[in-house]
Each structure stands twice: as structure tokens, then as C-alpha cells.
């Protein structure tokens, strides 16, 4: 009875992690795109008298994509900001209690992200149907719906990832980001 459920969760976990990593890679390329676009505008405006009229909107657009495409991977890697000194301490004396608290926190987090997804979905539908855009007509405009869709999908994926952490909690939770600058100056 339990085994097929566990297998299912494992498969779901693999799939969700894969999607998170993929979205993260796309978000990463957008960071590079951001550097290039802003520099293009600076050069085109300063030296060729021809500013890129959509620079402002494109920057806004890419910020949303960077944040929401990468958020699931942040969740997956336990890098969402938290203060877990108490939990770490507790797990040395009362490991089972600490584990229960961890699972509860992830469950609550899943619930919150589900609320976010629930809040954004109607926005996406409305923007998609009305073809609503931002920016100034004749200057530069971009549609709203991809933004709302990105937020919705991101929140949905985060919900699943948190949920997986409830069912299959990670054995090791790092208090801070340690992998940073791993190879520099070495």
C-alpha cells in the first residue's frame, strides 16, 4: 500500500526538481540578457543618439522572470532565507521533535505558496482574455499575461517542492549558503 505512494512521490520529486532546475537555467540566461540589454541601451543612447525605447519595460519584465523562474530552485536547494539555529540545536537533543517541526514548516509553506497561486490564477486568466499590456502605445508595450503566468507556475511549483519536503524531508539542511565562491582565488 505504502510502496506505490512512495514510488509516486519519488517520481514526482524527480520531475519537480527537473522542472525547477530547467526554469532556473532559463532565469540564469535572463540575468546575462539583462546585463547585455542595459549596456546596449547605454551605448546606443550615449554614442549613437538612439536609445532603446523599451529598455525600461524589458528590465521590469526580466526582473519578474528572473525572480519567479529561479524561486523554485531556491526552494529546492533550501536557500530561502531562514534562521534555523533553534532547529539545529533542537535536533541534537530532540531529533524527532525537530523533524516534526521541519515538516510542519514545509507544510505551512506549501499552503502559503498555494494561496499565492490561487490568488494569481484569475489575474492570469483576466490578462490573457483582455490582452492587457503595460508601457505606452507607440513607444513600447509588452503583454501582462506572461508575467502572471510565470508567477502562477512558480508558485505552483514551489507548492509541490515544499510538499515533497514534507513527505521526504532532506537529511541535511545547511544553515547558510556555503557553496558560494567555491572556486575563487583557490
Amino acid at each position: 500500500m505504502l510502496r506505490p505512494i512512495l514510488t509516486g512521490v519519488r517520481a514526482l520529486s524527480r520531475l519537480a526538481n527537473g522542472v525547477a532546475i530547467g526554469a532556473n537555467a532559463v532565469g540564469t540566461l535572463i540575468v546575462l540578457g539583462l546585463v547585455l540589454i542595459v549596456n546596449y541601451d547605454v551605448v546606443a543612447r550615449g554614442f549613437f543618439n538612439a536609445p532603446f525605447r523599451g529598455a525600461y519595460e524589458v528590465v521590469q519584465f526580466s526582473m519578474v522572470l528572473i525572480v519567479f523562474l529561479q524561486l523554485p530552485d531556491v526552494v529546492r536547494m533550501n536557500r530561502l532565507t531562514r534562521s534555523d539555529g533553534f532547529l539545529t540545536l533542537l535536533s541534537t537533543t530532540r531529533p524527532r521533535l525537530a523533524d516534526t517541526i521541519r515538516r510542519t514548516i514545509n507544510l505551512v509553506s506549501a499552503a502559503f505558496m498555494a494561496l499565492v497561486a490561487y490568488a494569481i490564477w484569475p489575474e492570469f486568466v483576466e490578462m490573457y482574455e483582455t490582452k492587457d499590456f503595460f508601457g505606452v502605445p507607440g513607444i513600447f508595450t509588452a503583454p501582462w499575461w506572461p508575467i502572471k503566468l510565470a508567477i502562477y507556475l512558480s508558485a505552483f511549483l514551489c507548492t509541490i517542492l515544499f510538499f515533497i519536503k514534507v513527505v521526504r524531508p532532506d537529511q541535511k539542511i545547511e544553515p547558510v549558503r556555503l557553496d558560494e565562491h567555491a572556486e575563487e582565488n583557490s
Binding site: 540575468v31 526582473m63 530561502l80 494561496l115 558560494e180 582565488n185
Partner: protein
């Protein structure tokens, strides 16, 4: 419940949840959601608050400074600019007792001008300067303390992610905040150098170390090679912002591109390092901006509850003086600094105090500098002190415990407090450069 009670209760609830280990953005969002439910008994309204805050908050043009300056900081660390500056500074301070410590502070101050985060500073300098101090028989606690203390400069001297976050909450110009951070940052660096000098005089055994006679002076060519790239970056980025040629976003992008070019020239850029830097940038950006989004849900909830209006009335009724407001503010920040990271502190306390500070006619730019310096003290205090964690993790040396790092950082946290009081007492320290 009155707005005031909701304000107090929500802060308490957030602190308890965070202490239990709940992710900080989740704690902020959830407490806000529940507060609206309790206050208005209206589920749709609570959902609508999420809807508007989440869509609205990330769409801010100036937020592009967060990934851009983060990326620039990562790329220049990889290009070795931090350790270069340190080498140069070190050859200047080598004869003085505690000289490597002073060199670390000086190098941090310069490096701070090209990186937006303290984490980058802490990890670079624990690698380049701690081993050297240990080799010269400095007290390990002193060695790590210096690195922890001076890493804070990364977020006070512009560019700085924290100044960006404050400028968003308080609706101040990012450029103004950056410029206002210059003098306080330099002041803090000088205060550290003075403190190290005094420690060397008064408690030589705590500092330890011996002077290095065998070191050679660097040739001007060598110095130029090691400092020019950093100087070019500082001139382009801060100069661009100061003159108005570049918006902070554009300065970040220009700095990133220059950093990339420098890294290529130094043959420090492989596709793999580039990818890692971009990946890291994305992760930091996503977690900071998600935190900001959650904090914006929280501050809007307070607005909806009418807390700012209530606080304004309270101020006129009780006639709280400037002294007491700032006293309570600093105390609250130091308390929160024990368990929260800098960004969360700023995002939680600023909306509570803006309605008190604004009607007093105080400069919000000055208030931002005070806030960032005050909140950064928490980087050095246990149990959660991010800079200290990073140093401990980067060193990965069993002889130095996390406790040693915190003890070593303590004198520097005290120096910060003294500088903070000076900044509060003399606002012109922060504002002079703007006028």
C-alpha cells in the same frame, strides 16, 4: 483589535515563527494574511492583498540593481580583485602592530566599492587574509574578528543591496542613498583602523602577531597592475552615478560588463565560472526579492490596519522625543539583529518607524543610513550572524570555532555601535555629500 495591537502582535508572531525556523518570507506573508482575516473577516480581501503585493513589488525598475551589482561583485571576486587590493594594502601597513588587520580593513573598504554584499567580502577576505595573519602568529580570534567586522563595509559603502532595499521601502532615490553611504562607510573603516591600533597598544597579547621584516616593497608597476582594474570600476560605477551619466541600474550593468572584461583579460573567466556566477546571482536575487515581496505584503497589511495613522497620532499625543524614538529604534534593531538577517530587519522595522520619523522633518536618506548600519550590527552577533557563518564555513579550519568568530567580531560590533551613535548625532555625516 486596534491597529496598534495588530502591529505589536504581528511583530511578536513573526519573531516567534522566525525563531522556530519558519522561512522568513513565509512568516511575513502568512502573518499578514492571517492578520487581515482577523481584522476584516474577509478572505477575498486577504487574497487580494497577496495579489496586488506580489504583482506590484517585483516590477520595480530599480530592483534590477540587485542582480546587476550582485553579479558584478561575484565576477570581480573571481577575477581576484579583492586579494589584489589586499596585497597592495598589506605592503603599506606591514610595519605596524596589527598591520595586516589594518590592511584587511583598508582593502575591504576599497573592495566594498565594487561589491554589493558583505557575504562576498567575508568569503574573499577569510581566504586571503586570515591564513596570512595566522602565519604571522596573530591571535585567531583577532584575525577572524577583523575579517567579520570589515566585511560589513561591503553593504555600507555603495553599491549596496541593503541601501537599495531601504530606498524601496522608504521611496528614496537609490542614487542618493548610495552617495550618502560613502562618508559613513569611510568613517567606519577609519574607526576600525583606530580600534585595531588601540588594541595593539592596550592589549597586545589579544592581537598577537609579529611584524614582517622580510617583505619587499612592491614596484609601482605591480601596484598599478593590482589596483587599476578596481579603480576603473569604481570610477565608472560610482562616478557614473555621481555625475548622473548612469542610473544605478545602468551603472550596475556597466560594472558587470567591465568586470567580465577584466576577468577575461586576467584569464580568470571560464564558461563554468560565468555560469556559476550567473546562477548564484539568480538565486540571491530571487531570495532577496521574494523576501522584499513578502515584506511588502506585511507593510501593506499594517497600512490597511491603519497603523501608520495611529502611530502618527501617538507621536503627537505622547510627544516622544527624537532621543527616545532613536533609542527604541536602535534597541529594536539590535534585538532583531540576533535572529534576523539585515534585509529582513530593514523590511520589518522601517515601515513601523517611517510614520514616526517623517513628520519630525528628519531626512529619510539619513534615516536610511542609520537603519542600514544599525541592522548590519546583526551580521556580527550570535546566534544568527551571517558574516560570521560565512567566515567559519569558508575557513573550514577545526582550530577556529564559530564561537571564536563571534567573540572576535564582538569588539567590531561595539565600534559599529559607536559609529552608529555618531551618525545619529550628526546627520551631516551622511548628508554632506548630497548637497
Amino acid at each position: 483589535m486596534t491597529p496598534f495591537e495588530i502591529g505589536i502582535l504581528s511583530v511578536v508572531a513573526i519573531v516567534v515563527l522566525v525563531y522556530l525556523g519558519v522561512y522568513i518570507p513565509i512568516a511575513l506573508g502568512l502573518v499578514s494574511f492571517v492578520s487581515i482575516l482577523l481584522m476584516r473577516d474577509n478572505f477575498d480581501l486577504a487574497v487580494n492583498l497577496l495579489k496586488i503585493a506580489i504583482g506590484d513589488s517585483v516590477m520595480e525598475y530599480t530592483f534590477a540593481t540587485v542582480p546587476l551589482f550582485t553579479f558584478m561583485g561575484l565576477i570581480v571576486s573571481k577575477a581576484g580583485l579583492g586579494s589584489d587590493i589586499y596585497t597592495v594594502m598589506n605592503s603599506g601597513f606591514r610595519k605596524v602592530k596589527g598591520g595586516i588587520g589594518m590592511a584587511t580593513v583598508g582593502a575591504n573598504a576599497v573592495f566594498a566599492a565594487v561589491t554589493g554584499s558583505s557575504i562576498a567580502s567575508a568569503s574573499v577576505f577569510s581566504k586571503v587574509s586570515v591564513p596570512q595573519m595566522l602565519a604571522f602568529d596573530y591571535n585567531p580570534r583577532f584575525a577572524v574578528g577583523v575579517v567579520a567586522g570589515s566585511s560589513v563595509l561591503g553593504m555600507i559603502i555603495p553599491p549596496s543591496a541593503m541601501l537599495i532595499i531601504y530606498s524601496f521601502v522608504a521611496e528614496q532615490s537609490v542614487g542618493d542613498m548610495f552617495l550618502a553611504g560613502v562618508i559613513p562607510g569611510i568613517l567606519l573603516a577609519i574607526a576600525y583602523v583606530v580600534a585595531i591600533f588601540l588594541m595593539g597598544r592596550l592589549t597586545p597579547s589579544y592581537v598577537g602577531g609579529r611584524s614582517a621584516d622580510e617583505m619587499e616593497w612592491m614596484s609601482p608597476m605591480e601596484i598599478a597592475d593590482k589596483t587599476l582594474p578596481t579603480l576603473v570600476l569604481i570610477v565608472a560605477v560610482l562616478g557614473g552615478i555621481y555625475t548622473g551619466w548612469l542610473t544605478p541600474v545602468e551603472a550596475g550593468a556597466t560594472g558587470s560588463l567591465l568586470g567580465l572584461i577584466i576577468a577575461v583579460f586576467r584569464k580568470k573567466l571560464t564558461l563554468k565560472t560565468l555560469w556559476h556566477a550567473l546562477l548564484e546571482t539568480g538565486h540571491i536575487t530571487a531570495s532577496i526579492l521574494f523576501l522584499i515581496t513578502a515584506a511588502s505584503i506585511y507593510s501593506r497589511m499594517l497600512g490597511l490596519a491603519g497603523l501608520p495613522n495611529e502611530l502618527g497620532d501617538l507621536l503627537t499625543d505622547t510627544r516622544l522625543t527624537f532621543f527616545w524614538i532613536m533609542f527604541i529604534y536602535v534597541l529594536l534593531m539590535i534585538f532583531l539583529g540576533t535572529i534576523l538577517d539585515t534585509a529582513s530587519i530593514i523590511l520589518i522595522v522601517v515601515p513601523l518607524f517611517l510614520p514616526l520619523v517623517e513628520p519630525m522633518g528628519l531626512s529619510l536618506v539619513w534615516f536610511g543610513i542609520v537603519t542600514v548600519v544599525g541592522a548590519e550590527i546583526g551580521l556580527l552577533t550570535p546566534p544568527l550572524g551571517i558574516s560570521c557563518f560565512v567566515i567559519k564555513a569558508t575557513l573550514n579550519d577545526p582550530r577556529i570555532s564559530l564561537k571564536d568568530v563571534f567573540i572576535g567580531a564582538f569588539p567590531f560590533a561595539l565600534v559599529m555601535l559607536v559609529v552608529l551613535i555618531a551618525l545619529i548625532r550628526w546627520p551631516s555625516l551622511s548628508l554632506a555629500i548630497l548637497n
